[in-house]
Amino acid sequence: MTGSANREEAEVEQLLEFEAVSKKYGNKAALRDVSLSVGPGRIVGLLGSNGSGKTTLMRIAAGLDRPDSGTVRVLGHEPGRASKALISFMPDRPQFERWMTVGEALDFQRDFFADFDPDKSKRMLEFMKLSRGDKASSLSKGMQERLQLTLALSRRASLYLLDEPIGGVDPVARGHILDALVEFYEEDSSMIVSTHLIADIERIFDEVLMIKEGSLVLRQEVEQLRMDSGKSVDQLFKEVYAEC
C-alpha cells in the first residue's frame, strides 16, 4: 500500500463485491437484488437447489454474463479482461473438447492463462490419478470432474469459482475431490463452491450463502451458525428450502 499509513487497517479489500445485482433470462428472474462480498482467504459455500441462481451468480462474477442492473467488482475491477485474469472459473459442464487428451486440455489452459502453474498442475494430476495421455472422451464422469478441477486449480488465481464440483459423482469420487479442494486451496486466495449436496462438504466452508429463487436468503459464518442454532448447515439448508 502506498503513502497514507493512517488509513484504518480494518478496510480489507474485498475480492468480490455484488451490489444490488439483478438478472433476467426472458421473463424469468435468475437473480434478484443480490448484494454480497467475499474477502480474501475464505472458502465460501454457495448453496441452493437446482435452478436457484447459483450458476448465474457465478457466470456474472466470472464476467461471462452481464447483470441487467447493479454493480460487480472483482478486486475493484469492473468485469472484463482484468477481472477475468484474477478469476479461475470451473463451469458445471466440461470446458475441454472431447477429442483432447488430458495433456492437451492442460496445455490449452496454460496457453490461455498467464497464472497457470505447471508444477501445481503436475502435482494435481498425480493426486487425481490422471495421466496426460488419457483421452477426455474415455474418462468416466468422476474422472471428468477431476480433470475440470485440475484445470481450474492449476491456475494461481485470486478467486476460484467452482460450480458444482461434486455434483454428479459417486461418494468415493466426491471424497477425493473434497480432499483435493483442501489440499490445493491456497490461503491467500478465496474459493466459492456451489453445491446442493451439503453434508459432505460443509466442514470446508468458512461461510455460506444460501440462494433461493434468485434471492440471497442467508449469509453466515458456519461456525457461528452451528454455535447459535445448534444445527448443521445441511439441516438449516433443508429448513430454508422446505418453507415454500
Binding site: 472458502i43 480432499d179 483442501v182 460443509e202 466442514r203 470446508i204 468458512d206 461456525e223 452451528r226 439441516q235
Partner: protein, 134 residues
C-alpha cells in the same frame, strides 16, 4: 488422527477437545510439536481457518504455545495438563449427573450407583474397563 465430527456443533471446539484428549492421554506428550495448520487441515479435511482458530483458542488457554519460526507445541507445564484433565473430567461429570437427574435419581442415589458401579469394575479381572472414551 481420526475424529467423527458432529456437524451440529462448532468444529473448532471438537478439534480442541480432541487435541486436549490426545494431550491428557499422553498421545501428544508435554512439549511435543503439534501438526501445522496445513497438515491438520488436509488430514481432517477441514477448513484451514477453522484449524487456525482451534490453535488460537488452545494458545489462549495456555494448552499450546507457538514458538516463532518453529511451530506450535504442547505446553510442558504438568500443572496445565493436570488442569485440562480436571476440566475434561468436570465436563463428563456434569453431563453424567445431568442425565441421571433427568432419569429421576437424587444425589444420594447417584453417588450410590456410581460407587456400586466402580466396585463392580474392580472385581472384574484384567481391568476390562480401562481405556478412555474416544
Amino acid at each position: 488422527m481420526t475424529i467423527e465430527f458432529d456437524n451440529n456443533l462448532p468444529i473448532y471446539l471438537q478439534i480442541m477437545n480432541y487435541i486436549k484428549l490426545q494431550i491428557v492421554t499422553g498421545k501428544l506428550g508435554p512439549g511435543e510439536k503439534i501438526p501445522s495448520v496445513r497438515e491438520l487441515a488436509s488430514e481432517l479435511k477441514i477448513n484451514p481457518n477453522t484449524i487456525q482458530r482451534t490453535f488460537q483458542e488452545l494458545e489462549r488457554e495456555g494448552v499450546a504455545e507457538s514458538r516463532r519460526g518453529l511451530g506450535r507445541f504442547v505446553t510442558s507445564e504438568d500443572e496445565k495438563i493436570m488442569s485440562i484433565k480436571k476440566e475434561m473430567a468436570a465436563e463428563l461429570l456434569e453431563r453424567f449427573i445431568g442425565g441421571m437427574r433427568e432419569l429421576g435419581f437424587d444425589n444420594d442415589n447417584i453417588v450410590k450407583i456410581v460407587a456400586e458401579s466402580v466396585n463392580d469394575g474392580k472385581r472384574e479381572p484384567g481391568g476390562s474397563r480401562s481405556g478412555t472414551t474416544a
